[in-house]
C-alpha cells in the first residue's frame, strides 16, 4: 500500500517532549499530486508531525526525506525555500502591513536599485487575489479584512510560492461556505499541477470531498494509511478513537442522550435584549435541567446574545432575570454572582490564561471564594482543583502544568472546570466543541448532558447542526439579531433549523 515515489516522507519518526512521546516511530508518506488527509484526535501527534516536516522541531530519531533525499530543515524558512508551504489554523501574517506586502513578504518584486516596486506589487496582488474571490484594496492593512479573507490571502501566499507541498492545518475553521468552495477549487488546481497537499481537519465531509488518501495517527503512532474512498466513515472514526466499530455505531456520532424533560419554571429569562446593530429584541428562557440550543449563521447574534446575558455586552434595553431576580446589566461580576457563567467562543483569546498553570486557570474565577481576608487558602484550592480534574478527566502531567501545553479538548475542560467551581445555575456555552478532536468532543458533549441532568440550565451555541439537534431539548434560531423561530421536541431537526435560518418557515 505504499506510495511509489513519495515527495515528502517521515520514516520511524520519534519525538519526545519532557513527559510525553509525541511521535512514537511514526511513518508518513505523501505522494506526488495527492491530497492527503492527516487525522487523529488532539494529542495524536498531527501537529508535531507537521512541525517536524517543516523544520519547527527536530526529530530525536528517524528521518525526513524530501524528493528522495534525507533532509534536516533547521527552521520553517528553510523548509519553505525548499518548497514546503504551511497554512496554519491561525493566520500567521502581519496584520498591520498591507495586503499586498503580506502576499509578497520576503519576495517582493524589485525595481531599480533593488528597491521594492510597489506599483507592480499592488497590481500583481489585486490580480492574484481576484482569482481567489477577494476583492479588497490591497493597500489596506491585512487586519482590516475579515478572518475568512485573511485566510484566503494566506492561502494565496502559500500557493504563489513555488510550493511542491502545501500543508493546511484546519484551513476551513474560519471560512464561510462560499470561501470553502474556493479553497477546494484551489486545492483541485494544485493537484492538477502535480503538487501535493497535506490536509488536516476534523470535518469529515470535507475530508471525503477532497482527499485521496488518509493517514490516521493515534497516541503518536501510525494506525492506518490508505485510500480514503475505501474507508467507511464509521470505520475511520473508530480508527481515530481506537474504539470498537459497533460501539460507535450504537452510540451515534455525538454523545448526547437526547431529552431531559423539564416542566419547572424557567430559571433564566432574558427579555427584549437590544444592542444597536447587533441584537434586536431577543428573548429566551431556559428551565433548570434543560439544554436550549441557539442556532444561526455567523453574525446572527448568537455569541452576542450569550455575552449580553453574561454582562459582557452592554444593553440598550432589555433585562435578564435569574431565579426571579433581575441581574444588573453590563457587569460580568454581577452576572457571575447571579449564577450565570459564559464559556466564550474563542478559547485562546478569551478563555485560558496561557502563562498560568492548570490549577490557577481552574480557580481563576473562584479565587475570592477560596480566600480568607484576601489570602488564598492553598488547601481549599487543591481540593477544588483535584475534584474537577478528576470529574472532568482533565489529562495533564499535573495541576502545575502550564495550561498552554494541553490539547484543545483539555483546555476546554479546564475552562468548564473554572465555571463548575462557581456552582453555576446557568451555563452559556459558546461553541464548546469547536476545534477539539472527536474523542474530546464526545467527552465534552457527555459532560454537558450530565450537567443538565444535574439540574443546570444550559444554553448551547453551536454551528454543528448535528450537535444542536442531538443535544438540545429546544432550539431558538436567530437571524440578523432577532429570533427567527423556536423549535421544540420532535420539531428539532436539521432541516427545520436550516429552514428557520434561511427564513422560509411560513407560519
Amino acid at each position: 500500500m505504499s506510495v511509489s515515489s513519495p515527495v515528502l516522507e517521515a520514516v520511524g519518526a520519534l519525538k519526545v517532549f519532557p513527559g510525553v512521546t509525541a511521535l512514537d516511530r511514526a511513518s508518513f508518506a505523501l505522494g506526488q499530486g495527492e491530497v492527503h488527509a492527516l487525522v487523529g484526535e488532539n494529542g495524536a501527534g498531527k501537529s508535531t508531525l507537521i512541525k517536524v516536516l517543516t523544520g519547527v522541531y527536530r526529530l530525536d530519531e528517524g528521518e525526513i526525506r524530501y524528493r528522495g533525499e534525507r533532509v534536516e530543515f533547521s527552521n520553517p524558512l528553510e523548509a519553505q525555500r525548499a518548497g514546503i508551504s504551511t497554512i496554519y489554523q491561525e493566520v500567521n501574517l502581519v496584520p498591520q502591513m498591507s495586503v499586498a506586502r503580506n502576499l509578497f513578504l520576503g519576495r517582493e518584486p524589485r525595481g531599480r536599485f533593488g528597491l521594492i516596486d510597489f506599483a507592480r506589487m499592488r497590481e500583481r496582488a489585486s490580480e492574484i487575489l481576484r482569482g481567489y474571490g477577494v476583492r479588497a484594496d490591497v493597500r489596506r492593512p491585512l487586519g482590516s479584512l475579515g478572518l475568512g479573507a485573511q485566510q484566503m490571502v494566506a492561502l494565496a501566499r502559500a500557493v504563489q510560492a513555488d510550493a511542491r507541498v502545501v500543508i493546511m492545518d484546519e484551513p476551513t475553521s474560519s471560512l464561510e461556505p462560499r470561501e470553502v468552495d474556493k479553497l477546494f477549487r484551489t486545492i483541485a488546481e494544485l493537484k492538477a499541477q502535480g503538487r501535493s497537499v497535506i490536509y488536516v481537519s476534523h470535518r469529515m465531509e470535507e475530508l471525503y470531498r477532497i482527499c485521496d488518501r488518509v493517514t490516521v495517527l493515534r497516541d503518536g503512532r501510525l494506525v492506518h494509511t490508505g485510500p480514503l474512498a475505501e474507508l467507511e466513515r464509521l470505520r475511520l472514526i473508530s480508527l481515530m478513537l481506537g474504539r470498537d466499530l459497533a460501539e460507535v455505531a450504537a452510540e451515534g456520532l455525538t454523545k448526547f442522550s437526547g431529552q431531559h424533560h423539564s416542566h419547572a419554571a424557567p430559571i433564566l429569562q432574558a427579555t427584549g435584549l437590544r444592542h444597536r446593530h447587533v441584537l434586536d429584541d431577543v428573548s429566551l428562557a431556559v428551565r433548570p435541567g434543560e439544554i436550549v440550543g441557539l442556532a444561526g449563521l455567523l453574525g446572527s447574534g448568537r455569541s452576542e446574545t450569550a455575552k449580553a446575558i453574561a454582562g459582557a455586552l452592554p444593553l440598550d434595553s432589555g433585562e435578564v432575570v435569574v431565579a426571579g431576580e433581575r441581574v444588573p446589566g453590563g457587569s460580568v461580576a454581577a452576572a457571575i454572582r447571579a449564577g450565570i457563567n459564559l464559556l466564550p467562543e474563542d478559547r485562546k483569546a478569551e478563555g485560558i490564561v496561557p502563562t498560568l498553570s492548570v490549577r490557577e486557570n481552574i480557580v481563576l474565577a473562584a479565587l475570592p471564594r477560596l480566600a480568607r481576608a484576601g489570602i488564598v487558602s492553598e488547601g481549599d484550592v487543591d481540593r477544588v482543583v483535584q475534584k474537577f480534574m478528576r470529574r472532568l478527566r482533565i489529562k495533564a502531567a499535573g495541576p502545575g502544568q502550564r495550561v498552554s501545553e494541553l490539547s484543545g479538548g483539555n483546555q476546554q475542560k479546564v475552562l468548564l472546570a473554572r465555571w463548575l467551581a462557581m456552582n453555576p445555575k446557568v451555563l452559556l456555552l459558546d461553541e464548546p466543541t469547536r476545534g477539539i478532536d472527536v474523542g474530546a468532543k464526545a467527552e465534552v458533549q457527555a459532560l454537558i448532558d450530565e450537567l443538565a441532568g444535574d439540574g443546570l440550565a444550559v444554553l448551547l451555541i453551536s454551528s454543528d447542526l448535528e450537535e444542536l439537534v442531538e443535544g438540545s431539548d429546544r432550539v431558538v434560531v436567530l437571524r440578523d439579531g432577532a429570533v427567527a423561530g423556536e423549535l421544540d421536541g420532535a420539531g428539532v431537526t436539521e432541516d427545520k433549523i436550516m429552514a428557520a435560518i434561511a427564513g422560509d418557515n411560513d407560519d
Binding site: P18, Y57, R58, D60, A335, I336, P354
Partner: protein
C-alpha cells in the same frame, strides 16, 4: 549509548535554557561573589557589603513596584520622577515632623500612581505613553514645590538614612521587609493571583469576572507608593532634598532589574526574588569593575551584555 545521547540532545538544551531562566540570575550573582572573593582585595569586608546594599536599596524598592506593573503587561516610567516628588514633599512638610512628612510623600506617590492607573485602566491610554507623560510632568511638579536642593538636619530623617540596627542599615531592613511583603502579595493573595491573570490574558480575566480595572489601578498606586518610599530613603541618606536630579534614569535601572530577574515584559508572570537578584547583579557588576579600575564605559557595556543575555533566555521559553 549514542542512541540515547541522540535522543536527549534537544531536551538537554531546552532544560539548560529553562534552568538559566529560573536560576541564571542567582548563578550569576554567586559567580560574581566568588570571583570577587578570590580576586578583589578587601571585597569581603563588612563595610563593603554594607555600602553595596545601601546603594542598591532604592533600585530594589522601585523595581518591586515595577515588577508588579510589568506583570500586568504594563510599564511605569514615572518612578524616577515620583522619587523626586517624594523628596520635595518631604522637604515641604518636614516642619510637621519626620513621620507626617514621610506619610505625605508616600501619599503623593500614591496619587501619581492613581493618575497613571486612571489613564491606563479607565481612559485606556497605553501604559508607556501614560507614564511617560507623568515622567515629564511630575518631575516638573517636584521642581515647582522645591526649586533647588535643600539640606535638612531633622534627626529622625537623618537617622533613617544612616543608622543601623544590629549592624544592618535601616534602609536595607526596609527593603527586605518590602520584598517579603510584595512576595507574599504576589504568591498568596487573591490580588496577586488576579494580577498575573490580568497580565496573562486580560479578555479572559474580564470574562471571568475579575475586577480588572481595580487590579490595574492598585498596581500603579503600589508602584507609585514604593517609588515614593525609595525617594524618601534616598533623600534621608543624602541629608538633602534634591528634586532636580534624584531618581534620574531610575525607571531604566528598575526595568533592567526586573528583566534580568526573569520577569517577562509580556506579563502574566512575576519573579519577586529574581527582581531583587537582578538589581543586586547590576550593582555587583558595577562595583567589581570599579574596584578593578575599569572605566564607567566598561560597566555600561557589560550591563548591556547581561540585559541581552536575559532577554535571549526569556525569548527561548515559547
Amino acid at each position: 549509548m549514542t542512541d540515547t545521547a541522540l535522543r536527549q540532545g534537544a531536551p538537554d538544551r531546552t532544560r539548560v535554557i529553562t534552568w538559566l531562566q529560573d536560576y541564571g540570575v542567582y548563578a550569576a550573582v554567586a559567580a560574581l561573589l566568588l570571583f570577587n572573593a578570590a580576586f578583589t582585595p578587601h571585597f569581603l569586608a563588612v563595610d563593603n557589603f554594607r555600602t553595596q546594599l545601601v546603594q542598591v536599596t532604592p533600585i530594589v524598592i522601585v523595581a518591586l513596584g515595577m515588577a508588579l506593573v510589568i506583570g500586568t503587561e504594563g510599564i511605569d516610567l514615572s518612578v524616577g520622577s515620583v522619587m523626586a516628588l517624594a523628596a520635595s514633599v518631604v522637604a515641604l512638610y518636614l516642619g510637621y515632623g519626620a513621620l507626617p512628612a514621610i506619610a505625605m510623600a508616600v501619599l503623593a506617590g500614591a496619587l501619581v500612581g492613581a493618575a497613571g492607573g486612571t489613564l491606563v485602566a479607565v481612559v485606556g491610554v497605553q501604559p508607556i505613553v501614560a507614564t511617560l507623560a507623568l515622567l515629564v510632568g511630575v518631575r516638573g511638579l517636584a521642581n515647582v514645590f522645591l526649586p533647588q536642593l535643600k539640606e535638612f538636619t531633622n534627626p529622625t530623617l537623618v537617622a533613617l538614612g544612616s543608622d543601623s540596627v544590629a549592624g544592618v542599615p535601616i534602609v536595607v531592613i526596609v527593603a527586605v521587609v518590602l520584598t517579603a511583603a510584595v512576595a507574599f502579595l504576589v504568591k498568596r493573595t487573591t490580588f496577586g493571583r488576579q494580577l498575573v491573570a490580568v497580565g496573562g490574558n486580560r479578555a479572559a480575566s474580564r470574562l471571568s469576572g475579575l475586577p480588572v480595572r481595580r487590579v490595574l489601578m492598585t498596581v500603579y498606586i503600589l508602584s507609585g507608593m514604593l517609588a515614593a518610599v525609595a525617594g524618601v530613603l534616598a533623600t534621608s541618606r543624602l541629608q538633602a532634598s534634591d528634586p532636580t536630579s534624584l531618581g534620574l534614569f531610575m525607571e531604566l535601572s528598575a526595568i533592567t532589574a526586573v528583566v534580568v530577574g526573569g520577569t517577562p515584559l509580556t506579563g502574566g508572570r512575576i519573579r519577586v526574588l529574581g527582581t531583587v537578584m537582578g538589581a543586586l547583579l547590576m550593582q555587583l557588576l558595577q562595583a567589581t569593575l570599579i574596584k578593578h579600575n575599569l572605566p564607567q564605559s566598561w560597566t555600561q557595556m557589560a550591563q548591556a551584555v547581561i540585559i541581552l543575555a536575559a532577554v535571549y533566555a526569556a525569548r527561548e521559553r515559547r
